[in-house]
Symmetry: C2
Subunit: 312 residues, 2 copies
Amino acid sequence: MINQLVQKIQKTNAPIVVGLDPMLKYIPEQIQAKAYGEFGETLEGAAEAIWQFNKGIVDATYDLIPAVKPQIAMYEQFGIPGLMAFKKTVDYCKSKDLVVIGDIKRGDIGSTSSAYAVGHLGKVQVGSRSYYGFDEDFATVNPYLGSDGVNPFIDVCKEEKKGIFVLVKTSNPSSGEFQDRHVCLEDGTERPLYEIVGEQVAKWGSTCMGDSYSYVGAVVGATYPEMGKVLRKLMPKAYILVPGYGAQGGKGADLVHFFNEDGLGAIVNSSRGIIAAYQNENYASFGAENYGDASRKAVEDMIADIAQALGK
Amino acid sequence: MINQLVQKIQKTNAPIVVGLDPMLKYIPEQIQAKAYGEFGETLEGAAEAIWQFNKGIVDATYDLIPAVKPQIAMYEQFGIPGLMAFKKTVDYCKSKDLVVIGDIKRGDIGSTSSAYAVGHLGKVQVGSRSYYGFDEDFATVNPYLGSDGVNPFIDVCKEEKKGIFVLVKTSNPSSGEFQDRHVCLEDGTERPLYEIVGEQVAKWGSTCMGDSYSYVGAVVGATYPEMGKVLRKLMPKAYILVPGYGAQGGKGADLVHFFNEDGLGAIVNSSRGIIAAYQNENYASFGAENYGDASRKAVEDMIADIAQALGK
């Protein structure tokens, strides 16, 4: 799947991923009203609004982009109906030939991580049959539990030719609280924890290589470009999923360091900046009814911004 | 909710929690056959088998125990039908007056952690109405993203009088890979990362105290009793959720250090050791058809083992 992701990025010339993180406040009134008209102001109504909203974004942008990244929390908050909308979104994006990165940030002890891996990337056995549960192409994984928690995902990735992105340095303001702590090494030197995790990602990744990049990638926030520069070198074969561009403050110029010299190696996420573009003054002229067109223009602008930053 | 948990532990005299982590291989043939007969060898069939199995365990043990801990991964692997069985299990356990600890190990950046917190512990707003999504009493939370990722859970806990257990030192063999790394401090000393996280748990917890313990607890594995001893002192007001007893190797005698002098402060989880007791040679005489009775006996033995270790 990492080969397919790289090919799609090359074909679209767009190292970007659209974050499908639909908060209700991003969804145009008319879509909410229609969904509530049909299902009431219920979890089912919210789920329908989310699904219709997503469909509009995907229909308006799918030919420009290689991938989407639905954030499962935004669906899970609406309980079972919300998760049904998540599944519907994953399936629809795959039918549009998009790579789907499930932003699930799971991670647990061995057998439990296995269950997550099977449920999101692989097939679960029921008697003599097997089924895909959510069937994303990639998943994000939390490394706090160490190799026991990550290896079960890698095992499923090998089997299914799928991939993961392991959290290394996250984009949020307090990510440094633990991730930036300096670790004392045996040789008397010290290094931040995120570098230790990054090195481990490179090790994990070396066991399952695609053509030029590994099935094991990393998450490094656009908001920390200097750290991105170091991590890029520590994990030369890891694709870096870069959140934090746009609404969180990361700029095109900050992104250069996340890419390798081949112009590959990073895929930049924007969520609110794309899906709620019509609420941004730059795109307000589209109006809420044309929110999909506003998102398309925001995607085009993001592609141009990154291309310029990369000197393309 | 922490007050209720403490009261229930005192009333049952059982500082234990039964981990409802139903792998299909633990479920007696006759339950699987019945479920597959009704729904086929499908995700729905697996979900039905899980639910019936859980119901049998709960019915056989609920009067002896204060709490259950369903591990959501074991349900999530069966997709939407699996998560419906999770929800059904949560609701049923609450109807039996059990405290439900959702073992979900979520954690993300601010707005996303908010969505998880709302979905699992709080209410989500849909238009003019609000709904509980999964409605557990407690949730486990991953600290890797720092305060941004944990505070949204604490906010919901304050509002809903619910609680969290933050991963500090997990029970798995490779937990030390990152958690045991020594962090260099400004004063020239060094301390393991789990202690740094533990101190932060104490800080987070000081902002939302119940009568004697905080709404913010910690997860520390029974498999690391010496570390538990240190962490007990660093987080005197945090309830410690202790996994790793039984099947993972933790013994009654190891547990003493996790408790405070008041005989409280820890709740010990056993999953496989209880729910699959009938597969263990000690309880094999019950037979698969009486798996609930085997679980009940295993609970009684676990309570006695811990009471003996605590010198009660």
